[in-house]
């Protein structure tokens, strides 16, 4: 029953993910971060430190701290720590061990199996070493998959037709480009290229150098000698780089960065534009283009034969990088999944397939592509189940009648996003009849929508008074093409304002009509308890409102008159209730032969059309 986790065992950072409810999710580590530095340290007391903690002690304990061990996988290289020799497998196992522990803490169960990713260019011995590392960490490696393949899996490309995909992976300290051929469950690596000493850290360094130079130019002081200052610069440079992926200028503001020889404080206040950043780092971007060209050439493909370009690794967010690749390949990039996480997510997805979670269809829950509802007074489409609701699902709502003694209601089942029935697709209609004679608004008709796992919609209408039931089953609700669905959603967005205005008008009219009806009824019922003056006043206002209701395109006036009538009527009804003994209110309902509706029972006052 235990889950198979997916691990992106990176050179600088690692990430672990797992399938949950049909979707891969990244597991946060015990420090609360979504990625873990691939750094291992041994403290003086012999304690083993992994991740952020190991990184923090690296400076103080340099010779007992190991980073970028991945570069040595599959070689005879050994790390000597206090006379004890460690193989790259053993060091990697320590990183895997932490990821395993974090996953277990998250899942609340033991984890024994994993899918681990490796670069596409890894040789058999490097792959074997990775597998061994898993074994040492107590993980059975169910499969080793290529990082570009994992990235493509996270985008669901395995479910599409066969196609050639270029994966551009610019990580913290390594750069890889791979061209893969995906289709029919088989993935073939056509070409790989890269530079394993190029990454995001180089971009940071360029910014740091620029800040140092600018500061020296302005203040004549060299900042490089001060470790504390350089630490602040490093953080500021990385932040500036990240900012410039979203905005065109950023402010680097480090007050009291140092003091000049006379003891006066110096501040660092610089503005870095995206253009300047691009200029500073253009050689780095160019350095990634060479390998991309090389990979395309090696794959024997023409640039236009590559159907998709996936961007992986944090630094693939840099706009200049994206522009350069777009220009080179002449196509839009495939983005959307966090580039730091997509490899681990893809590995988790692969784990899900191997564990049977995905294949069994257990986790492939469907959603309703469009909203479902029924038509109510004024031609409005009242939504019962909104789009993207996971099925199976069931919803019920109570409606009422529109006219006194209405004998039947028509249930018009609709699909779509528009506010009005006529703009949506009609799925089916039926009638519930035999409603006992009653004033409008009194009968309670419960309408239920039930969509089963196959997307079949059962609509039931039940008269809660008589218990009479009528229903319809609609099997064709889901056989709309993706284009049709997209169009329906687009239309709804395009017409949203118009629809809202029209809906507002209908709502105002319905409210107005309801109120006149209630007031007239109330005057009949307890007209003897109010003075003739008050009665005339209310009747006058009812007439006013009715006159407004007759006119077209009159929403604001209707609303105003409705408010006026309501206010006047509340004042009078307040008086009437004060006169009445406490028990009388109750009696009023009983005389009507109905039960007083609970304060908030979700009854919608929009009613069915009379038939």
């Amino acid at each position: 029953m235990s889950k198979i986790i997916g691990i992106d065992l990176g050179t600088t950072n690692s990430c672990v993910a797992v399938m949950e409810g049909g979707n891969p999710v990244v597991i946060t580590n015990s420090e609360g971060n979504r990625t873990t530095p691939s750094v291992v340290g041994f403290s003086k007391t012999g304690e083993r430190l992994v991740g952020q903690i190991a990184k923090r002690q690296a400076v103080a304990n340099a010779k007992n701290t190991i980073s970028s061990i991945k570069r040595h996988m599959g070689t005879d290289y050994k790390v000597d720590i206090d006379g004890k020799k460690y193989t790259p497998q053993e060091v990697s196992a320590m990183i895997l061990g932490k990821l395993k522990a974090d996953a277990e803490a998250y899942l609340g169960e033991t984890v024994t199996e994993a899918v681990i990713t490796v670069p596409a260019y890894f040789t058999d011995s490097q792959r074997q070493a990775t597998k061994d590392a898993g074994q040492i960490a107590g993980l059975t490696v169910k499969r080793i998959i290529n990082e570009p393949t994992a990235a493509a899996l996270s985008y669901g490309i395995d479910k599409e037709n066969e196609q050639k995909v270029l994966v551009y992976d610019l990580g913290g300290g390594t750069f890889d480009v791979s061209i893969i051929d995906m289709g029919d469950g088989v993935t073939e690596v056509l070409a790989t290229a890269g530079n394993n000493r190029l990454g995001g850290d180089d971009f940071d360094q360029k910014v740091i150098n620029w800040i140092v130079a600018e500061f020296k130019k302005a203040n004549g002081i060299d900042l490089t000698g001060d470790a504390m200052v350089m630490q602040r610069l490093k953080e500021a440079a990385e932040k500036a780089k990240i900012d410039l992926s979203n905005v065109t200028t950023t402010n680097i503001n480090l007050p009291f960065i140092t003091v000049d020889p006379s003891g006066t404080p110096c501040h660092l206040d610089l503005t870095l534009t995206q253009a300047k950043f691009n200029e500073l780092t253009s050689d780095l971007v160019e350095a990634t283009i060479g390998p991309v060209r090389q990979a395309i050439k090696d794959s024997g493909l023409a640039a236009n034969e590559i159907q998709k370009v996936l961007m992986v690794g944090g630094s693939s967010r840099i706009p200049a990088v994206q522009d350069a690749i777009k220009k080179l390949l002449g196509k839009e990039l495939f983005k959307g999944i966090n580039p730091d996480e997509c490899v681990a997510l893809g590995a988790a997805y692969q784990g899900g397939i191997l564990g049977g979670d995905v294949k069994q269809g257990l986790l492939l829950l469907d959603v309703t592509p469009l909203s479902l509802g029924i038509e109510t007074a004024g031609g409005i489409c009242t939504k019962m189940i909104s789009r993207n609701t996971t099925i199976p699902t069931k919803k019920s709502q109570v409606f009422s009648t529109y006219s006194d003694n209405q004998p039947a209601v028509d249930i018009n089942v609709l699909q779509g996003e528009r506010e009005f029935a006529r703009d949506n697709k009609q799925l089916g209609t039926f009638q519930l009849n035999g409603i006992a004679p009653a004033p409008r608004g009194v009968p309670q008709i419960e309408v239920s929508f039930d969509i089963d796992a196959n997307g079949i919609v059962h609509v039931t209408a039940k008269d809660l008074g008589t218990g009479k039931v009528q229903n319809i089953t609609i099997t064709s609700s889901t056989n709309m093409s993706k284009d049709d669905i997209d169009k329906a959603v687009r239309d709804a967005e395009a017409y949203a304002d118009d629809d809202k205005k029209r809906r507002d008008a209908v709502d105002a009219k319905n409210n107005g009509e309801n109120l006149t009806f209630q007031c007239e009824k109330a005057l009949n019922d307890f007209g003897d308890k109010v003075s003739a003056e008050e009665k005339t006043m209310i009747q006058g206002k009812i007439a006013d409102l009715k006159a407004e209701l007759e006119k077209e395109d009159n929403t604001e006036n209707i609303k105003a008159k409705t408010d006026e009538l309501q206010k006047a009527f509340y004042e009078i009804s307040g008086k009437v209730y004060q006169q009445a003994a406490p028990g009388d209110g109750q009696q009023y309902y009983q005389e009507e032969g109905g039960t007083p509706p609970p304060a908030d029972d979700g009854i919608i006052d929009a009613d069915f059309k009379e038939v």
């Binding site: 903690i53 923090r56 002690q57 400076v59 103080a60 470790a227 007050p255 009291f256 404080p265 986790l363």
Partner: protein, 169 residues
């Protein structure tokens, strides 16, 4: 002939029986189907139950995490106030104002729950300290925090920011 016929019948029968048996093996019984569905349901339910438990935990954690994140974003301002307060200035009144500002800011984050770490002279502990340099000194034994460049803070049992320190060698 009779005997032969009987034999033939028996063989045919055997063949049929075998075929039927094979067919039966190929078609999963209702029992098996139910078992498979039950397993699916149990797995999903177990996953949901774990999800529910974790969600409850995560909800309680959310407030703490948000507090930590907000304080962490504000700390650079505190650093700058501190540097400003320690900077030389000939204008005493102005300097006093800056010191007061610093105190005011410190009081606020303390009230929210931030606790300042006081690492000086303690054993270097990467769980709370970030070493940015090593210092040759006789003042401290090796492996102690001998300089604090930037203050570290925690909130309850969470680290907001490690203290940036120098470690004695």
């Amino acid at each position: 002939m009779d005997i032969e016929n009987e034999n033939l019948d028996e063989t045919t029968e055997e063949i049929f029986e075998e075929e039927i048996e094979q067919e039966e093996q190929a078609v999963p019984s209702f029992q098996e189907l139910i078992e498979a569905e039950k397993d699916k349901y149990l797995r999903l339910y177990a996953e949901f139950d774990n999800f529910r438990k974790r969600t409850v935990k995560e909800k309680t954690e959310m407030y703490n995490n948000a507090t930590v994140d907000v304080i962490a974003e504000l700390l650079p301002v505190l650093d700058s106030f501190e540097r400003a307060a320690n900077a030389d200035s000939t204008d005493e009144t102005y300097k006093k104002g800056v010191v007061m500002l610093l105190e005011q800011f410190k009081n606020i984050i303390t009230k929210i729950g931030a606790v300042e770490l006081e690492p000086l002279g303690e054993d270097f502990d990467p769980n709370f300290h970030n070493a940015i340099k090593t210092v040759e000194t006789d003042e401290f034994e090796s492996g102690k925090v001998c300089q604090v460049f930037q203050k570290g803070f925690k909130y309850k049992d969470k680290l907001i920011r490690p203290a940036m320190v120098g470690v004695s060698q």
